[in-house]
Point group: C2
């Protein structure tokens, strides 16, 4: 079922704010960025590239000067996806008209044979398909296919869908019918083709997705050979490092998440979608193994993945440095994609737990609370003067920029938030799954003859109340692994909480009241994570907390949690859009002044440590910030 976004009207304070922010601020802001109208921000030129390409195609004009990354087309695609979904939440005829106009331009930029990519149209029309390793043609196609599906789902219009079907047909012709070798340097089209298949029911697109998944890494030297043959390059990327783009071996043999993290999770998402569709046992096994490797060996507590700036990549198990973390926003979005597809494969709460962790922490941290600045990189420790400055830390900016030359993340956050209902809900074996806890109204009249209303102030509060009207249905309510003491009332009567694989299955209820354990908890990392040893993090519900200088006298590095102290949630304030802050008993250590090393045990001054949710950090100026704190 693909109409969750249409069927679900959000009304809870947390997500309603995000939805309004998206429709009223983020979508217009990002449109302005794509139209190069934001002063002092990096230029996008993405729409302009399409206009010039259309001019070439329609009028035989001389190609104008392409500007931007080789994958600049995808920034527009992600925004179209977000903007299309936003129309479902808040109809906006002007926006819809502008969308239609942009889509017409995209259609006009297409070659008669279906080919579509402005970089090649404007810069290198004779080099199409010769650089799958670097040139992102299949990646851009994937994103525009996703945009097309979203636009179709949101508006019922088929202009972009037809355009991208023609592009997909063109690709099918080349790689399947004509049998040209190769696979994408940046996976993405695999999952996009599965979406196209789900939207259209056309087997061909599933077949094409399967093709790219199946041939990947069968010839691990493909990019090496291509690089040797092509005689041109975008960046001169190293083709010898086969793990970077996950082509070191056939995908079914993979056991470790490797290389560029976004590439990796986009690929695994496509694999999971295909596996859920085909039941391919080897592919399912590979997906599970890769999932386990990521989530039990290579993931930050914030759901961030890909710990190194070098190649924006996974490194080795348990290598999770905090201050130099890369943890790209897009990578956590990709992890959410992967999680959601694993949930289609098998309803297991551990997928939803990770999905929630990545969403409420890294992905939301990727955007400033005002919706106008964005993080690409999400460090877990920030020290002004070092973060963003010192070599090795330069990527770890301590404040969000307005836009990026490589602007993959901002519109990716938008499309994820705009389609949050897809992640919140699931339907499998006639059971309605509540994966995430969002307040609002889910209209399943057409599908099941039922309507579900959810009242909650989650993640601020742990109570989630479901009202089910209409035909009795079976529901599966996720019981998060982190909720140590969970209560459930069905039709007002307490029941034993006994989840199967993370879900409590309940049939024929009129009301379900879920009380999740929102006591702040201390979290300890595996002792194999060197960077976290001796340190403690604090969570409340799905939210990872951090200490920021502005709340703590400017000095976070001197803070120590009291091992036996209390951590209490503060009453609501207006700070940080009304989030819940924590107060923890702790100490400020005073080490000897004027020396680096002292035998004098640091003096401990009792203090209250103010903690804020990680997603809200960096909203109040340049600041020290830390997720993991020593405990005494």
């Amino acid at each position: 079922m693909n109409n969750w976004i249409q069927n679900f009207k959000i009304s809870d304070p947390f997500w309603k704010r995000y939805e309004d922010l998206l429709t009223d601020v983020v979508i217009p802001y990002q449109e302005a960025a794509l139209r190069d109208q934001i002063p002092d921000a990096e230029k996008s030129h993405s729409i302009e590239n399409f206009k010039m390409a259309a001019d070439v195609m329609q009028n035989g004009a001389e190609p104008g000067e392409y500007y931007g990354m080789v994958f600049q087309d995808s920034d527009l695609a992600k925004w179209i996806e977000a903007a299309s979904y936003s129309l479902l939440q808040k109809p906006d005829p002007d926006l819809e008209a502008r969308l239609d106009e942009v889509i017409e331009t995209i259609k006009d930029a297409q070659y008669p044979d279906g080919y579509l990519n402005t970089y090649f149209t404007l810069k290198a029309p004779d080099k199409k398909w010769t650089n799958l390793q670097e040139a992102h043609e299949l990646y851009c196609a994937g994103h525009m296919i996703e945009a097309a599906v979203a636009n179709y789902e949101a508006t019922g219009k088929t202009v972009l869908l037809d355009t991208m079907k023609r592009m997909a047909d063109h690709i099918y012709q080349r790689f399947v019918v004509e049998g040209h070798p190769g696979y994408p340097g940046h996976p993405e089209i695999e999952l996009a083709l599965m979406r196209l298949y789900h939207a259209t029911g056309e087997e061909k697109y599933k077949e094409l997705s399967a093709h790219f998944i199946n041939v990947r890494g069968v010839d691990p030297d493909y990019f090496v050979k291509e690089a040797a043959a092509r005689g041109w390059q975008v960046w001169g990327m190293e083709a010898e490092d086969r793990t970077y783009a996950q082509n070191q071996m056939p995908v079914r043999d993979m056991t470790k998440a490797t290389g560029h993290a976004v590439r990796a999770v986009y690929l695994y998402s496509g694999m999971a979608d295909l596996a859920a569709e085909t039941g391919d046992k080897d592919l399912i096994k590979a997906c599970r193994t890769l999932w386990d490797n990521i989530t039990t060996q290579q993931m930050y507590i914030t759901g961030g993945i890909g710990s190194t700036v070098h190649g924006e990549a996974f490194t080795k198990d348990y290598n999770l440095p905090n201050a130099t973390a890369y943890a790209e926003t897009c990578a956590s979005i990709g992890l959410i994609f992967f999680a959601r597809r694993m949930l289609e494969l098998e309803a297991d709460g551990r997928y939803a737990d990770v999905m929630e962790r990545a969403l409420y922490n890294t992905v939301l941290a990727g955007m400033q609370l005002d919706g106008q600045r964005f993080f690409y990189v999400n460090p877990l420790e920030v020290v002004p003067g070092i973060s963003g400055v010192v070599p090795g830390y330069r990527h770890a900016l301590p404040q969000r920029p307005k836009w990026y030359g490589c602007a993959c993340c901002p519109p990716n956050v938008s499309r994820t938030i705009a389609s949050i209902a897809k992640y919140a809900w699931g339907l499998k074996d006639e059971t309605v799954y509540s994966h995430l806890f969002l307040g609002g109204e889910l209209d399943l009249t057409k599908e099941l003859g039922a309507r579900i209303t959810v009242e909650t102030r989650y993640p601020y509060e742990g109570k989630v109340k479901y009202h089910i009207e209409g035909v009795p249905i079976r529901m599966a309510i996720r019981i998060p692994e982190w909720s140590r003491h969970t209560k459930l009332l069905v039709n007002g009567v307490p029941i034993t909480v006994w989840p199967y694989k993370g879900y409590q299955y309940i049939s024929d209820a009129q009301t379900i009241e879920l009380y999740l354990d929102m006591d702040p908890v201390r979290v300890y990392a595996s002792s194999r994570v060197a960077s976290d040893s001796g340190l403690t993090a604090v969570m409340r519900g799905p939210l990872v907390y951090c200490a920021e200088g502005v709340d703590n006298g400017g000095d976070v590095l001197s803070l120590r949690l009291a091992g036996n102290g209390q951590i209490i949630a503060e009453p609501y304030t207006d700070t940080l859009c009304g989030t819940v802050k924590l107060k923890a008993d702790g100490y400020c250590v005073h080490t000897e002044e004027g020396t680096l090393y002292s035998t004098t045990r640091p003096k401990l001054e009792p203090v209250q440590i103010d903690l804020i949710p990680y997603y809200t950090w960096g909203n109040r100026g340049l600041n020290e910030m830390r997720v993991w704190l020593p405990e005494v």
Copy 2:
């Protein structure tokens, strides 16, 4: 006084072992390396380069193919320095003959006008002096001047000395007489010229040293202009980053140690030597300020400096990551040079304390205990599979290689150990300073009519006993800052320990018995050092300790020191050449298996933690290693 090495015969177990290792293993090993005779090691070709250059000069031969770094000449120079000094400890006519032969070759490689540098002779004779930024001509000259002084001091022979005086005269002619602009891209010649001045008494060399120090950074754009003018490059180094080579401003204005750490401390050493000689108040002030910045804001507990691999450089105050530390062996050697010269400037124990810290920890760690493998980089935390492997950690090798393509460090360790007496002793205002505690016999008959015998098993034990015979003298015994409870007996009678600036001054003693506090101590870093927060290090005397996997069940990351536990020194064993190991009360934590993050507080299993001196780590195979441990 420059004849400490001649006058002091080492006999204590610690340094005698090193001296024997040096004469019997290291000097021959490094000679073999320089002659490209070590199987499976990086080639040096340094002697061969000189032979080919001599062939060009003497026989007008076609230049053979130069091999190695642009500063390959300096590797041979450092070895000549070490080998010359070793002759004083252990006469070796064969070695001396080989030295003479090599020196003849060097002399033969010199141009008639005094110019000497095999890179330019063989590769670029028309490009001399056009690339001071990158091409290391002045640096190589400096090292060969140092070698010449050492060879002269050790053997009384003047072949190399005269050769290098001619080169120094050539440089003087160019930069002082003819007034060509420029200063060294890699400082070194400044301190070398001061050594040449001290050895020969010729003012001209002091003047030339002062010239390079005084013009440095006055035109901070010199390298930028040079790079624009020259039209060729060695590596294409960035001339715009003026802090890298410390030319961002005149040296007297500098307040922060910046850039390439070896360059920095070599420069500061030259500055300190000159300042001690001239009494230049601004220069003295700059030296003190830079010293304070390094030692109270930018130095590892091991005396390692230069925390980043990017440019092998200083970064920002308090940025001292452990696992990715660079802490080049040569940089700590340079810090010792700087310290020793500051001691000439003013007798203050803090300089000697740091000198000792760098020597007994980072510098000695730079060489395997068997003298045949060497560290360039000295991390404070090692995790096999990550260290030396993961991008960002690749420089931090977990085991010592046999040699390096860039082999600055191995012979630098040799020459430092071979001249250890220079660092141990000082003479100022007719007072004999005991900076470091080495057992042996110091013959000052010629200088003061006295002989001092020192009995000690330092750093294994804290007792140091001085016997003074002959004319009564004044001595200044360093009381290390780390010794919290120090006892002193003069002629068998206890005296009050009341040091002035770190030294106890004692006149006319026949015996002095010093008892230093060798109780193991816990050390805490300033809370501004993010990487060490909540962590504790252990020292005993001057030695920093670490935990290594081989002693601790393979798992160092799970170790926690017991905050209230004992740390005791073990009786001598044969392990690690008879060093003193420590046993600390502690725990092994058991975190939840199969998950990265858990709310279950880790279980603590009481264990004895084995600690070894940092300089002995990495001698027993691939291993986890950690200096800073969490404390519970």
